[in-house]
């Protein structure tokens, strides 16, 4: 039975690795300028984790195969080097591995989070609420009108609680339920939630950030490929969580300009 178990472990380990190696189910292709280090980090981690996984499972299987069939009179043997070899091996191999992963990973993380948005990044505001995202563009004046929480109303379609009658900055603000952005232009996304926790995840864009009620958070990114992508909520926000999504369209500058003009006319 030991041999059968050993074979089972090896078969499971190899079958488990095949979809990973073949990328049967894998991350959507990257369309961001900042995503390359993430993808590279993913591949490196996958290689190191994959080798650790296969090596450990195979070692386990081999030892079970061999030592579940020890002869009755056999003497107990000790692994060459004993526990010291194990501890040193773990510290040297895994220690180096994790420190390298940590350092390169921190670099990838830093390249995204420790670089401020450029001065000409296009600001877009996104508000999350049960169970929809709404977006706001500042209009020609480049300024968002202030938010008045007491004016926020789904019923009146005033999703952001803006007062376009009295606030000069709010007059030209454009509110939409879908978001469009120009390709190859940096976007500075200003995020807030009006109710509970939500999240903003676009796999292709390599962006993922929670909305935290009480905090104004921001992200910046540049999309490099024209297309229509989905924004999904990943923070459990209530019964409609699964259906909280919006489309993000990456357009050429000309298409974007005409789209925004159309949206402005609809306000």
């Amino acid at each position: 039975m030991g041999k059968f178990f050993a074979v089972t472990i090896i078969v499971i380990a190899i079958l488990s690795a095949i979809p990973i190696v073949r990328h049967t189910w894998w991350m959507a292709p990257d369309i961001s300028t900042h995503g390359a280090p993430i993808d590279e980090q993913m591949s490196e981690t996958m290689a190191e984790a994959g080798i650790s996984f296969l090596a450990s499972q195979i070692l386990l299987a081999v030892f079970i195969w061999v030592f579940s069939n020890s002869k009755p009179g056999a003497k107990i043997k000790t692994f060459p080097g004993g526990a010291t070899a194990m501890v040193l091996g773990a510290f040297l191999l895994v220690g180096t591995e994790v420190l390298a992963l940590g350092a390169f990973g921190a670099k990838a993380w830093g390249s995204i989070y420790f670089t401020p948005p450029s001065a000409n990044a296009m600001p877009v505001q996104v508000q999350a609420g049960q169970f929809a995202f709404y977006f706001r563009y500042p209009g020609p004046d480049g300024k968002f009108g202030p938010i008045h929480p007491n004016l926020v109303s789904e019923a009146n379609q005033n999703f952001f609680g803006i007062d376009s009658t009295n606030d000069a900055d709010a007059k030209d603000d454009i509110v939409t339920a879908e978001v469009a952005i120009p390709v190859n232009r940096e976007i500075h996304l200003l995020m807030h939630s009006k109710d509970v926790g939500h999240s903003f995840f676009v796999p292709e864009l390599r962006v993922h950030q929670d909305f935290v009620p009480g905090l104004d958070l921001s992200m910046h990114f540049t999309a490099t490929k024209v297309g229509r992508y989905e924004i999904v909520c990943t923070q459990l926000c209530g019964l409609g969580h699964y259906n909280m999504k919006a489309y993000l369209s990456v357009m050429s500058q000309e298409d974007f300009d005409s789209w925004l003009k159309k949206q402005a006319a609809l306000q």
Partner: protein, 592 residues
């Protein structure tokens, strides 16, 4: 340390004091096991319902409306009812199974015996810890029966969703209050239990039993109880604050300007991240609270079946300790995309990566000890070896989740679900199974059926991989967790994978009925167990009978002469010498 027995309490005569309100740690251990047994069956049925719904969203599950007329009109699960069942599945499994069975159940039963004591120092606290835990379970189950059902907020109960009250959605009013009350009460039980475990280990050891002579299972429970003492002590006040936000008009967790259903909520100044910090300061150690007892049990079972001690007893103990200490320094990896300062993410990333070092040492010591062993294959050892395989598989995905840059792609996806199910769910369950097959003869004086045990193992081992390995693939493809249906365009092609998982989950779940049958059949009809069926060395096999008498050692406490695992030696009984045997060993392996 005690060298003579002095009976702290007499054997009870009445049925109630013997079997219900018992002060005997063995009865309390069995009560905990019974509670975990009921809880795991409930949790498993909930997972079946969830899996069926995820595979075939509009399928009418016969009889489901009986569970909740509102939650399943026409037997089809509503989106909110899916989330409610999911929350209950997770809460029941994490608290009432994975914490209760390997730690409270086996620990209560065997820790005092393995230290050569006749009971714990505070038997009344011990009795109270079980009854408090049972009360917590009943409070949680009660939420099925309140008007809008249990909470839907997930076992993490992120605020402000869980703090705003019924306006947040079904179950977010009374459901959350019951949930938080249940968990706060549960914490009291664990604190009482932990105090007992710590004092028993430190103060009740019998003559000759130095700390280094404790079996690894006892080390597992001892280290876990220290973790429990600190982790549950943080969760309990967090739950109390959450209850106050509901019933006392406080705003610990709800910030100003929260607008739900176009209504400005009557809260100001609360902090969303405060809850996450408090919860995960408990939540991450909790992972180790679930798994370290399993590591101890599996080490104990494996050594007996390898007929040799571990390559290094002390290195394993130090590694368990390192896991416990580091488990408090890594919790922020649950919050990489939470809006926490990105510098903190890096600060939490490194300890998370470093925790793989003691984990690797543990695995390598296990593997290295297998080398040159005389491995006996039985149900207990199979589940122990399966534990190692699962722990490796669940552990390597930790490399990914420790890195904030990769968390961008994997956070809140099925990759995370696969990771924690394998490493703390399945592995811990395998620890429970290994412990059950191994200690059943001691607990009931009868052997479990080996053939049924092996069938149970094979289906469970292969089934668990079929269920949880594909979770990782789904996560890589961006499949978000906690969705009741997959209406997002890019997730729809993943539905066949979900169906495969559902079928695997149903088959694997049904295989657990073999275990249930074996447990009950063997309890009454099993072959009568010899005194030491596994030819083991530790003190639980030195009691005068199986199950042990009320005072464990029949009025005379054992004296310990050896390290816990004297295998591969030339003893008078064979290749082992019991810990309390005064015989001299030629090839002694004493490290202490």
């Amino acid at each position: 340390m005690h060298d003579t027995a002095h009976t702290a309490h007499q054997a009870p005569a009445s049925f109630i004091r013997k079997h219900v309100f018992s002060l005997d740690h063995k009865v309390i251990g069995k009560q905990y096991y019974g509670l975990a047994f009921v809880a795991v069956l409930v949790g498993m049925v909930l997972s079946w319902l969830m899996r069926i719904h995820l595979g075939w969203t509009n399928y009418a599950i016969p009889g489901l409306h009986l569970l909740s007329a509102n939650g399943a009109p026409g037997n089809v699960m509503t989106p909110e009812y899916y989330l409610q069942l999911m929350t209950m599945h997770a809460t029941i499994m994490v608290f009432f199974v994975l914490t209760t069975a390997p730690f409270a159940a086996f620990g209560n039963y065997f820790l005092p015996i393995q230290v050569g004591a006749e009971d714990m120092p505070f038997p009344r606290f011990n009795m109270m810890s079980f009854w408090v835990t049972l009360t917590a379970f009943l409070a949680l189950i009660a939420s099925f029966f309140v008007s809008d059902g249990p909470t839907l907020g997930g076992w993490t109960q992120y605020v402000p969703l869980s703090a705003v009250g019924a306006v947040g959605g079904p179950g977010e009013g009374a459901g959350v209050v019951l949930w938080a009350t249940s968990i706060a009460i549960f914490c009291v039980g664990q604190l009482l239990g932990s105090l007992n475990f710590i004092t028993t280990t430190l103060d009740m050891r019998t003559k000759g039993l130095s700390l280094w002579r404790l079996p690894l299972s006892t080390w597992g429970w001892f280290i876990t109880s220290i973790m429990g003492l600190t982790a549950f002590a943080v969760l309990m006040p967090a739950c109390i604050l959450l209850i106050l936000d509901h019933v006392a008009g406080t705003s610990f967790f709800v910030p100003s300007n929260t607008i739900i259903n176009d209504q400005l909520q009557p809260h100001t100044g609360g902090s969303t991240l405060l809850w996450q910090h408090l919860f995960w300061f408990f939540g991450h150690p909790e992972v180790y609270i679930a798994i370290v007892p399993g590591m101890g049990i599996v080490s104990h079972v494996l050594i007996t079946n390898m007929r040799r001690p571990m390559l290094s007893h002390r290195t394993l103990v130090y590694s368990f300790g390192a896991l416990a200490v580091l488990s408090y320094m890594v919790y922020g990896h649950h919050m990489f995309v939470s809006g926490m300062n990105p510098v903190s993410s890096i600060a939490f990333s490194f300890p998370t990566l470093i925790i793989t070092i003691p984990s690797t040492i543990v695995v390598l010591i296990w593997l290295g000890s297998l080398y040159g062993a005389k491995l006996r294959i039985n149900s207990a050892s199979l589940f122990s070896l399966g534990f190692i395989s699962m722990f490796i598989s669940g552990g390597v995905s930790g490399f990914f989740l420790a890195q904030p840059s990769l968390d961008i792609m994997l956070h809140a996806t099925y990759f995370v679900v696969g990771h924690f199910h394998m490493v703390m769910g399945v592995a811990a369950m395998f620890g429970i199974f290994a412990g059950t097959y191994f200690w059943f003869p001691k607990m009931y004086g009868r052997m479990m059926n080996e053939t049924l045990g092996k069938i149970h193992f094979w289906i469970t081992f292969v089934g668990a991989y079929c269920i949880f390995m594909p979770f990782h693939y789904l996560g890589l493809a961006g499949n978000v967790r906690r969705y009741q249906a997959f209406v997002v365009d890019y997730m729809q092609p993943l539905i066949p994978v979900h169906r495969f998982i559902t079928v695997a989950a149903l088959v694997t779940g049904c295989a657990q009925l073999i275990f249930v049958y074996n447990l009950f059949y063997s309890r009454f009809q099993g072959e009568v167990a010899p005194a030491n069926p596994w030819e083991a060395t530790s003190l639980e096999w030195s009691t005068p009978s199986s199950p042990p008498p009320f005072d464990n050692f029949g009025g005379k406490l054992p004296v310990v002469y050896h390290d816990p695992y004297q295998y591969g030696v030339e003893g008078s009984n064979g290749d082992y010498v019991m810990q309390d045997s005064p015989e001299q060993i030629e090839s002694a392996r004493d490290e202490a």
